[in-house]
């Protein structure tokens, strides 16, 4: 084969092109890794993941479990991941509730409520999330200092945070209890709804679900009791104590500002998704259910809601993934989420490549598991078979 026809061969061209593409990518990654190694070596650091067991030497300002300066990196990373998931769960739940309310207001027939919903959505959706976060944070910092703190329904609101009555139990025990309750609830819902248990008698199915939840509740109570310091009373109430507030449970401004920002912003987006979902419900189905004599409420809960939920779930999944990523904004106000732990770790340890790969791995894990769970839910509830009709 002469040279001209060698290059004109499609097989060879394709092969060379793909090989070149791969080589360029590998070259890029290799350059980055080697340069980073050289830089590390210049600073007297070794690459590899051994540092994970070294102690960090700094503190996290928000943790769900007990932590101190000497804890190793891996533990901080774990705490950061927990913070991200915790913030994500709260943010998603709050955003969903707000979204449902404004979405319903926007799709209802009441013009006054519609206007209110529209105002909400246009305001919160059209301003950058970080601007909103800074605003909330500035507002939180402008609250009176503990001495002049506002007392409201047993809580003390000050620039240092919001103090609420709490239990005197270690945070690990609370985390365990909450986890047990969540798992129990999920289990109960699964037993009560899953197809696999359809054949059970209604009574027994309900009993089994209750039993699962009861068991979880028992685990939770045991966790709380073991985590409780028996020398102290069970509950603690906040009280102004000179220049500071003593007792109670402190919710830091960093935490609640980020939560509020994510909830309100996410709520505006989810509101639009909810409205889209209701719009997608076919007129025919609504008319048919009215013709069958269902009341407005029954039409709403039995027909409109389930159909709308199915229509909006796929878009909702993307929005949830987006919102989880938004928890990284915590670094702007100092909430120690997964990303902030990584950023501080890089600053303190200089192990760039390692932490960047942990960061990428962590977010791939979070996103793919969230997407996998939601996609599974979507597949489980998706309307089976070929659909005709729907919204015209």
């Amino acid at each position: 084969m002469d040279r001209a026809s060698f290059w004109r061969s499609k097989t060879i061209r394709d092969g060379v092109l793909q090989a070149a593409f791969l080589a360029a990518l590998i070259g890029l990654v290799l350059t980055a890794v080697l340069t980073a190694r050289a830089n590390l070596a210049a600073q007297g650091l070794t690459s590899g993941f051994d540092f994970l067991w070294k102690s960090t030497g700094w503190e996290m300002n928000f943790t769900l479990l007990h932590s101190e300066r000497d804890d190793p990196y891996w533990y901080f990373l774990l705490l950061g991941l927990m913070n991200t998931l915790f913030m994500g769960t709260i943010g998603l739940a709050g955003a969903s509730v707000i979204g449902l309310v404004v979405g319903l207001m926007r799709s209802g027939r009441n013009p006054a409520a519609r206007l209110l919903g529209t105002l909400y959505i246009e305001l919160f959706r059209n301003l950058p999330l970080i601007v909103q976060l800074f605003f909330w944070y500035a507002l939180a910092n402008a609250l009176p200092n503990p001495r002049q703190a506002i007392e409201f329904a047993g809580a003390i609101i000050s620039s240092r945070g919001i103090y609420v009555p709490g239990l005197t139990v270690t945070s690990g025990a609370v985390a365990l209890a909450v986890a047990a309750l969540l798992i129990g609830a999920a289990l109960a819902i699964w037993i009560a709804t899953a197809r696999r248990f359809r054949r059970m008698e209604r009574q027994r199915q309900r009993g089994a679900a209750l039993m699962a939840f009861g068991l979880a509740a028992l685990v939770a109570v045991i966790a709380l009791v073991t985590g409780h310091d028996s020398t102290q009373p069970w509950t603690t109430f906040p009280a102004v104590d000179g220049l500071r507030v003593s007792g109670g449970f402190r919710i830091q401004p960093e935490f609640y500002c980020l939560a509020i920002a994510i909830m309100t912003y996410g709520g505006a987006y989810i509101g639009e998704i909810v409205r889209g979902g209701f719009k997608a419900v076919g007129r025919g189905q609504m008319e048919a259910s009215r013709a069958l004599g269902l009341s407005n409420w029954q039409v709403f809960t039995q027909v409109q809601m389930p159909l709308a939920f199915r229509a909006m779930l796929p878009i909702l999944i993307n929005q949830y993934v987006w919102l989880i990523k938004a928890t990284t904004l915590g670094i702007a106000v100092g909430f120690s989420d997964f990303f902030m732990v990584i950023a501080s770790s890089i600053n303190h340890s200089g192990q760039t490549i390692e932490f960047i790969s942990i960061l990428v791995g962590g977010f791939l894990f979070i996103n793919f598991s969230l997407a996998a769970i939601l996609n599974r839910l979507n597949r489980a509830i998706a309307l089976k078979g070929h659909q005709t009709g729907g919204a015209a």
Binding site: A112, I130, A332, F339
Partner: protein
């Protein structure tokens, strides 16, 4: 339905009002509650921004505190910092003109007349060049101003425009690679897109600004601003590539086959047949992506840039105006809102126009 309404007796306005607002006790309650909230909000806003506000440019905290409303004096005193950051005072007219140029570029690209690839590319590249010359200076007798001194609105707009200019070709490239017939390229670019999309933008910006210098050979490091813009463009491109892919999926297979049958080569098929149609289909989503990209420029505050948000933070964090943070945030929110709301309204209008056009065919 429409027929039936024509024969229905016309109701009095009162009747219709009652039907809309007080059909049942529940809607009545909702109405009352909504109206009450609306009225309350309207009153608070009006009261704070106008009725009780201080408009005197010379007022200070003590004077403002006498009235319960906004203290707009902070804007009068601080608008230069908010809008232009630390840009040299005497040269700020240049920053102002540069902003106007970018605004013009954006308005121009919204005109359907301009929707040719060549025209759009021309306008954006030319606009960026003029913007850069004005801001950077160093020629035409303009005093040089280093990128580190850029700030405020021009910096926000520059990051936005540069992200778009860099990100769009990147997005097209990624989207074409993902639908390539060559399995290795298609697969790997798919992974790249999915990975970037699952990372938070903030993490990417942080990596580019702070970590990348450790990982690049010296000659590739460059100015921090451009590294950050590169990161933002990469993120934009990953999302936009998926939007374009959605456009590809809306094009019937026959289109590309017909182009092949006519003897068009790969780039001719893409450039003349596939991409124009994909972009038309993806237009509303694309505009939406630009809106999001604009809002996300404010994230660079985290890696230490004086863009609009950071500049306004400094505007009130220095001594005397510490109390007037709400006014400053309201001011920049108005700027962001005007831009974002305008663009997304435009997108909605375009979408409506396009779907109307489709029905006619």
């Amino acid at each position: 339905m429409t027929l039936a309404t024509d024969f229905r007796p016309r109701h009095s306005r009162l009747y219709r009002l009652r039907r809309a607002y007080f059909a049942s006790p529940l809607t009545g309650l909702v109405t009352l509650l909504s109206v009450a909230i609306l009225a309350w909000l309207a009153w608070i806003v009006l009261d704070w921004t106008v009725l009780q506000a201080t408009f005197d440019a010379d007022a200070n905290q003590a004077i403002c505190a006498e009235r319960a409303g906004a203290c707009w004096s902070v804007i009068a005193n601080r608008w230069r910092i908010i809008l232009f950051g630390l840009y040299p005072l005497d040269e700020q007219w240049r920053a102002g003109v540069a902003c106007a140029v970018v605004a013009l570029v954006i308005v121009l690209s919204c005109l359907p007349l301009m929707w040719r690839f060549s025209r759009l590319a021309l306008v954006w590249v030319l606009g960026t060049a003029v913007f850069y010359t004005l801001m950077r200076g160093g020629i035409f007798g303009l005093v040089p101003v280093n990128e580190q001194q850029w700030g405020g609105l021009p910096l926000t707009l520059f990051i936005f425009v540069a992200t778009g200019i860099l990100g769009m070709p990147l997005a097209i490239g990624l989207a074409l690679m993902r639908r390539s017939e060559l399995p290795v390229i298609a697969r790997v670019s798919g992974w790249i897109i999915d990975t970037i999309r699952s990372l938070p933008l903030l993490a990417i910006l942080f990596t580019c600004a702070i970590v990348l210098p450790f990982m690049l050979p010296g000659f590739l490091i460059g100015e921090k601003l451009y590294r950050v813009i590169f990161g933002a463009a990469l993120f934009f491109a990953a999302y936009q590539a998926e939007i374009i892919r959605g456009g590809f999926q809306g094009i019937p297979r026959g289109q590309e086959e017909a182009a092949k049958a006519l003897g068009l080569g790969y780039w001719q098929r893409m450039g003349k047949v596939v991409l124009p149609q994909a972009f038309r289909l993806a237009l509303p989503a694309t505009i939406n992506q630009f809106v999001i990209a604009f809002m996300e420029t404010s994230l660079v505050v985290v890696v230490g840039f004086m863009e609009l948000l950071a500049a306004s933070n400094t505007a009130f964090r220095t001594g005397e105006w510490r109390f007037a943070y709400i006014e400053v945030y309201v001011f920049i929110s108005a700027i962001y809102f005007a831009f974002v709301f305008g663009l997304s309204r435009y997108g909605a209008w375009l979408e409506a126009r396009m779907s109307a056009g489709q029905r006619k065919d």
